[in-house]
Symmetry: C2
Subunit: 250 residues, 2 copies
């Protein structure tokens, strides 16, 4: 393990965990002393695939990734986006077979952590088990919200909703300011996340821009009218289960 450029409180993992759970100093140090294998990945690469039986989980250190599946007839559905600090396949700690794939959306730096090491830490510090469990439950809450987004909202509202979520989640880990964040997502990916075609996403994004709600270009997403965007997306950040909602959601 190389010397980390991060202190306890600036490490992406700790930033993310602290945004949804509570950790003691001792637990933070224990987490950061986990052996991690760091790798650089290009955009659009699979990290793990549906059907795999991994012996380690993947921590995103930098960049954007997503969980997805393919239907039998080749249509892709994205179930969630992942940013620095997230452990998108943490569930494989307890579920043997992966039921979905994980891929990069941008160039990414990721760290692999052996399940063995995580299990040991969880048995040793129940507080860490509780925090990681809580993180997986918050992830599940996001899945629930996405079911509603995909099932019961129109494309206009769906897109506003996922953009709101991206802004709040990046802000909660210190990656956004002034309703602005760096993001690497294609219109095809936004379509795969909302159950729409890329063509339709294109038209709806133009509408959102025309209405003065957002700007989205050259990898920068900006909410020009946050309140209106929230309203358009029927967005209430409660489901993100953030520890400091007032600070993170504003």
């Amino acid at each position: 393990m190389a010397a980390s450029p991060f202190t306890t409180d600036t490490h992406p993992l700790i930033r993310h965990l602290a945004s949804v759970a509570t950790l003691s100093e001792e637990e933070k140090h224990a987490l950061l002393s986990l052996p991690m294998q760091v790798m650089e990945l290009r955009a659009d690469q699979d990290i793990v695939r549906e059907g795999d039986r991994p012996t380690r989980s993947c921590l995103i250190l930098q960049g954007w990734a997503c969980t997805f599946k393919m239907t039998g007839d080749g249509k892709r559905q994205i179930m969630g986006f992942h940013i620095a600090g997230n452990i998108p396949d943490l569930q494989s700690l307890h579920l043997t077979v992966l039921d979905s794939s994980l891929g990069t959306m941008s160039p990414c730096r990721v760290a692999f952590i052996q399940h063995e090491a995580l299990h040991a830490l969880c048995e040793q510090h129940y507080g860490i088990a509780r925090a990681l469990w809580r993180v997986t439950l918050a992830d599940a809450a996001i899945f629930r919200e996405w079911i509603m987004n995909v099932g019961r909202r129109e494309a206009h509202s769906q897109l506003a909703h996922v953009l709101c979520e991206m802004l709040v989640r990046t802000k909660a880990v210190g990656l956004a300011r002034d309703h602005t964040c760096e993001i690497t997502v294609t219109q095809q990916e936004l379509g795969d996340a909302t159950g729409n075609s890329a063509v339709h996403v294109n038209r709806v994004l133009q509408q959102l821009r025309r209405d003065g709600l957002i700007s989205l270009e050259s990898k920068t997403l900006k909410a020009l009218d946050w309140e209106a965007l929230k309203a358009a997306g029927d967005f209430d950040p409660t489901y993100l289960h953030l520890k400091h909602p007032e600070r993170d959601a504003a």
Copy 2:
């Protein structure tokens, strides 16, 4: 707590937990000695509501329940169905505020378990924490599959898929035989689960019946052609993370 009519291995909770996790005899006994407050509920009653901060979780002993949310403009989305043995709001053990509601679909017998008691058991037996964590992860896997179902499948396929899931899950806890189970679900509820209107569900169900895939009447669902139903629903039970897939899925 009244004397239970169940032995260790016939209690719905143990049946369900054992279908997705591994428990020692000691852990089973510890779970069944949890203090539970049993209640009978009528159909279409809310058990807990979005926004609540419960101090207990709800174990379904008999009947069908569902998790749902309402959009800002009053459309309902069901995120999952629940049967005997499920603890649909187990996440409230670690997430303070409920982000979705839980309601009965049929008359139900439910048991409430105080979080306090569950926490104590989890700290005492790490195996129980691991099993309950795993159950919540399997629930999350179902949410992921539903995102795909709602986002990328057509109504015909969506309905076949949820019916397949119901048959496999009831079978896994001993509530189905010969691809047949007792079920209490209206066409409106199937629509709310798949993101369709009740009218369209009606037409699609007729098609499924006409094609000889199912019969669904007087609270009995029967797969008349299981292989064809699975194919229509693009159904692969891997995402249910059952311990005995060969036995349960057949």
